[in-house]
Amino acid sequence: MSEKIPVLELQRVDKSFGPIEVLNEVSLKVNAGEVLCLLGDNGAGKSTLIKTLAGVHKPTRGKILMDGQEVAFAGPRDAAGRGIATVHQFGGTFPLMSIGRSFFVGVEPTKGWGPFKRFDRKKANEIAVKAVQDFGITRIDDGERLVGGLSGGERQSLAIARAVHFGARVLILDEPTAALGVKQASHVLRIVNETKRRGLAVIFITHQVMHAMAVGDHFAVLIRGAIAADFRKGEKTREEITDLMAGGETMAQLEANVEGNT
């Protein structure tokens, strides 16, 4: 696998906001058909890293490569146009729109011609519903329902299905399971697996080691903006990963600290 050209690669990327250095020489490779889990404590720079990948921030130093070619994203739209899709924690950003309408925001299917083009609601609903159902979410069968009326997991699934439908090659998920219960989280994890099976590269950000281990092929731990560990599935145990995520301290040390404070 390692001889494949990564879909997306970071080479020694730094990002500072004025004097504040947030990312420090971050190098990462994201392969098609793999899930990269990005782990790290609060404030480690995970969101900053994915915003850089999604074209929101420009790296201060270092290179971003797509398919081995250096790229510079002009903005989020440019990155999206090249196939990088980001799904945020709460999935749909238009809670008061119907499933069919929100699925096609900006790329509405129409019928008729010229100035009399009509939004093809039936087609939009059908395609949107089919796209989510293909991911196994069969409970969504009515494209007229409001996105805000879906459960958190269903909304995530809808957003992922949308990204896949519109040809995303890299899917970035910022803590998609953080606000979800066990059952809903497992739905989302199943969809992450399905996305990977379809050949997309997935970057999965989470605080939950269990969720990471359930889907991850490749793990990177970020501590204070630098990659502190980079390993593949099976190379570390759950305890080791948990310790790494706690910022390098072992669980035992952490417990000692907590007790020392009481």
Partner: protein, 337 residues
Amino acid sequence: MAAVATGGTGGLGRFALRPEAGSFLGLIVVYTFFAILGGQNFIGSPGWSSWLNTAADVGIIALPVGLLMIAGELDISVGAVLPASSLTVAIISGHFGLPIYLGIASALGVGIAVGFLNGLLVTQTGIPSLIATIGTMFGVMGLTLGFTILIAGSTGVFITPDPLTKSLFGDALGGMFQVAIFWWSGFAAVIYWLLHVSPWGNWIAALGGDRVSARNAGIPTQRLTILLYMLSGFAAAFVGVTQVITFGSAQVAAGSSFIFNAIMCVVIGGVLLTGGSGSVIGIVLGTMTFAIVNQGIFFSGLNPNFGSIVIGALLLAAVLSNDTFHALALRHAAKRS
């Protein structure tokens, strides 16, 4: 007012997608109330013509103001554009005696120009639209007053429109029903098309839902915002034209009541104050409800102040039920999982 789905295993579904249902209920209640108090006169053509005439004037403005609110913006300047437009017609075609079409075209041009300016201010400076359009409102008011006194030497200007113009913009069928009612229907049809049939409607709702995501999805958010402001400027100027031709005169002080009345019609019609959701049928029903209260009070023999109280109560009820609708739509998820 928004329809709130109760219980139901199928959930919010289609019913909640029809916020009009609540507005319709409000309309029926209000109409019945004033029909009982107002009697034959209110139920007959005097009543209908009086509230339909009121509804038409405010309704033509409420429609594009509603679109703007769905897109997450306000437009206060309509209250100044209306008299500016009336006076433009009166000065060009009345005071100077130039052809009426020139006066009308200039008046509509003034409206579109003010809208364009509003759109630029809101999209380029980031000043909240409430403040930006209050600014243009005062600017336009001041210019209107200044130019009118400078040119005509008074704050009111007269005009005698020709019969054709009069019948197009200022006549009343049977001496009661203003042609503006038909114009209002026309505006409603066009804006219905924009919001609910054409792909633009999706863009407008997305704009009010989340501006940044809308832009990232490829929607030309700035151009769309500017166009919506131009539409509301045009509509306010259009009402200014119908008024000056109906009354044969234009006053500097006219129009300020339209600001809040238009916003009230829109809110009673179920448009969320926070944007992202609303319907044209709702806005039309909200406008009718508003006009029925506004005029019904004169037929009912009640103290006119009571009308203001009813409108205030309606507005509160509408906002509450809109918010409930919103909250239910969002909370629904938790109950199902």
